[in-house]
């Protein structure tokens, strides 16, 4: 059974499912209780579960993330909301130095079953300090898991998996898409980490993305189909662990790849994708892997500039045409 729900509702449903399922699960964050959350993800939960399970915290990211790490070490399962991932820089020390490393330091004796979640990326005119995509930043550190679901069904299923995971999970939500709708399976639809999703099958070129760029790639695939080119779209969704096999299998079929990311080009996920492909599917390539990334500038405020700073359908479409050795349009 499945029902149509928004990304926001699906996300809330997963947390409710685990709140009901496991007493050690608590939600923490700024304004998530009485106010219902800045993005209304936790709307209504305070009334139902009370202040001990839905905890409002002070504006002190390093403090409350540190508290959550300690709670997790003691056996609780905190799910911490970052109002946006931009504020996590303040908590980076707790996340990187403690959450990611306690299990290692303790020789596996102490686990940190912690989820930190919140909207990632830009696109809604929040300007330079509030426009970051932090997947490669957190994906860089061993000890952290990093996921970035884009469909309502995946955001629910991956949140279930995240809460149950014994390790700290960086849960990057498509903030611009909280209101988008999709079919969501009822009940326990846990989606495993480390498995990419083929969002559309095709044979001529593979478009690889995650987060809201997946939807952009699907639109590009429609455009290319009008000219008779069948693009395969892969939604990575789990960035660490990473599903190499699915992209390698796709390249063996299509021979051409465009990797798309909202973040800046340097040291990005798309670079990692390109490296894996040249390593494992070199003999199948018909063209160099193209990367389409954000412009190398701090996120602009002005709408026209902001649009230019993110990957556009046109850019992705033309990159696909280039790897197919077709005329750009």
């Amino acid at each position: 059974m499945a029902e149509t729900k928004t990304y926001r509702e699906a996300l809330r449903e997963a947390m409710v499912y685990e709140l009901d399922n496991d007493e050690s699960v608590v939600l923490m964050g700024e304004d998530i209780g009485v106010y219902g959350g800045t993005h209304l993800i936790t709307d209504g939960l305070y009334d139902e579960y009370g202040p001990k399970r839905i905890m409002d915290v002070p504006i002190s990211e390093n403090g409350f993330v540190g508290a959550a790490v300690g709670m997790a070490m003691m056996g609780m399962r905190p799910v911490v909301e970052m109002m946006t991932w931009n504020f996590s820089f303040l908590a980076a020390d707790q996340i990187i130095q403690n959450a990611a490393k306690v299990r290692y330091f303790s020789g596996g004796q102490v686990e940190v079953p912690l989820v930190i979640r919140g909207p990632n990326g830009g696109g809604v005119q929040l300007s330079a300090q509030h426009t970051h995509s932090l997947e490669s930043f957190y994906g860089h550190f061993p000890g952290l898991k990093v996921v970035a679901p884009v469909t309502p069904n995946d955001v629910k299923g991956m949140m279930l998996t995240a809460v149950r995971d014994p390790n700290p999970v960086i849960f990057l939500e498509a903030g611009a898409l909280y209101g988008t709708k999709g079919e969501v399976e009822n009940g326990d639809n846990a989606v495993p980490f480390g498995k990419a999703r083929i969002a559309r099958e095709g044979s001529d070129v593979t478009l690889i993305a995650y987060g809201r760029q997946v939807n952009l790639c699907l639109r590009v695939a429609d455009t290319l189909a009008e000219d008779g080119f069948e693009a395969e779209v892969i939604d990575l969704r789990s960035l660490r662990p990473f599903d190499e096999d699915t992209i390698v299998e796709s390249v063996e079929k299509t021979h051409r790849v465009v990797a798309v990311q909202e973040q800046w080009r340097w040291f990005g996920v798309a670079s990692e994708v390109a490296a894996i492909i040249q390593d494992r599917a070199f003999d199948y390539l018909d063209a160099p892997v193209e990367r389409v990334s954000g412009a190398e500038v701090p996120g602009p405020y002005a709408r026209n500039l902001e649009l230019m700073a993110f990957p556009s359908e046109k850019q992705v479409e033309n990159a696909a045409r280039r790897v197919m050795y077709e005329e750009e349009k």
Binding site: H255, F282, D283, Y284, L285, D286, A287, Y325
Partner: protein
């Protein structure tokens, strides 16, 4: 340190499959120890160590296809070190190969020394796309792969990519039009170098152009079966034969009563020795006896003319679970029926077990294919190149017939159909030969002289 290489076990062999390691890394091996089981397109056999020492490094994995001449393992003698597998280390690898070659004799040496060079050229090609010895061009990796798999000459393809890069669509177009097949000289040169081997027809598979094939429907109720190595080889050779050898056919009906009576009589006599002659033994012997006056049907079509053979080396088609193989009874004309019977049974049994040695199924001069056991009234066979002829043997049918007085009497009849290469023999030769086969079988004492 000696390399263990994938041996070349037949002219047409280009690669073999490593089925199973029989020894593990670190095991001590003596000369002659079986170290692995390998499979060619024809047989499964054990690969023996040619040196003593420690099996230092297993390079190939089980199930992997390995080109002839490539190393699959190293045998480490006392005090030797395992070489690094950095493939560019040409000097050392070549020395190694030559060493192996001396021990194996001339034939294998050619293989062993050629392989590393080839590998090096390829490597160089992959490193700098535009700097190959055989012409300057750029090509994408998938293009190089397709060229290798389909034996294409990239210098004959124009690249449509940036800076003239050859891209996949260029190769696909060339494959469809057939314009980039590798030249035939290479194949011919190899054949001249090994004159004592029966000649494969020139450029065995290179003329072979598959028709444009449909994609599988993948509908429910269908199943996709990938062709085995043997199916591919049979397919290629038979296509080659049917496309390039002008077949003609001649059928005779043989009255088999006398041969059957003789067979019954002989089998009663031979029972104690455990020998039971089959009808096919009689037919093979008759085909051989009849060839005495028709040498151009016991011949091979070679690069420099038709080679007539005095001795008859008769290949017999043996059906296997997944294909067929044609082991050879050497000089069958000089052998008696009981010897032929024993040898054919032995070859057929070992053929089905996949235990034939390469020299047991290579180099026939004519082939007999028998489908009599399946109740076949008559059929035509495809010539097994480079041979001139093949005889198809059908079932014996018992039915009413007229004797010399015009009375209706029961008789046993069998149809034999010759397929012959019209470049070598004409209709008259074929017809007279088949009439002779018929005469011999109907007067089976002829088999004794």
């Amino acid at each position: 340190m000696p390399e263990v290489i994938m041996p070349k076990m037949g002219d047409a062999m280009e690669e073999g499959t490593l089925l199973k390691w029989l020894k593990s890394e670190g095991d001590d091996v003596s000369e002659g120890d079986a170290i692995a089981e390998i499979e060619t397109d024809k047989v499964t056999m054990e690969l023996e160590a040619e040196d003593a020492g420690t099996l230092a490094q297993l390079i190939a994995d089980e199930g992997q296809d390995i080109p002839v001449g490539e190393a699959i393992a190293f045998i480490q003698g006392e005090g030797e070190e395992v070489p690094e597998r950095s493939e560019g280390g040409g000097g050392e690898a070549e020395e190694e190969a030559e060493e192996g070659g001396e021990e194996e004799g001339g034939g294998a040496q050619a293989t062993a020394t050629e392989a590393p060079e080839e590998e090096e050229t390829e490597e160089a090609g992959a490193r700098e796309a535009d700097g190959r010895a055989d012409g300057h061009f750029r090509a994408s990796p998938i293009v190089r792969r397709l060229a290798e798999e389909n034996d294409l000459d990239l210098s004959k393809i124009d690249g449509s990519g940036p800076a003239g890069r050859i891209v996949e669509r260029d190769v696909r177009a060339a494959m469809e039009s057939g314009t980039a097949q590798r030249a035939e000289e290479d194949g011919a040169a190899e054949e001249v170098a090994a004159p004592e081997q029966p000649q494969q027809p020139q450029a065995e598979m290179q003329g072979f152009q598959p028709a444009r094939l449909p994609e599988p429907t993948e509908e429910p109720g269908t199943q996709l079966v990938e062709p085995t190595r043997m199916m591919q080889v049979i397919g290629e050779r038979m296509t080659e034969s049917k496309q390039h050898v002008p077949h003609f056919y001649a059928t005779v009906e043989v009255k088999m009563d006398a041969a059957m009576a003789l067979r019954k009589q002989l089998n009663e006599q031979l029972e104690d020795e455990g020998i039971k002659l089959s009808v096919n033994d009689f037919v093979m012997k008759a085909c051989a006896v009849a060839l005495r006056n028709y040498p151009n049907l016991n011949a091979l079509y070679t690069t420099r003319g038709v080679e007539l053979h005095e001795k008859v080396d008769m290949a017999m088609a043996v059906a296997l679970e997944q294909g067929l193989i044609t082991p050879v009874i050497r000089d069958i004309g000089s052998k008696g029926l009981s010897a032929i019977s024993q040898e054919s049974k032995d070859l057929a049994t070992r053929a089905r077990d996949g235990k034939l040695q390469p020299d047991e199924y290579q180099g026939g001069t004519i082939t007999v294919s028998n489908m009599g056991m399946f109740g076949i009234e008559s059929f035509t066979a495809i010539i097994n190149p480079p041979q001139a002829a093949i005889v198809a043997v059908s079932s014996i049918e018992r039915r009413p017939s007229y004797d010399e007085n015009g009375e209706v009497v029961p008789g046993s009849f069998m149809k034999l159909t010759l397929s012959a290469d019209h470049r070598i023999a004409n209709g008259r030769d074929g017809a007279m030969y088949m009439a002779e086969v018929k005469r011999v079988l109907e007067n089976p004492v002829m088999l004794m002289v």
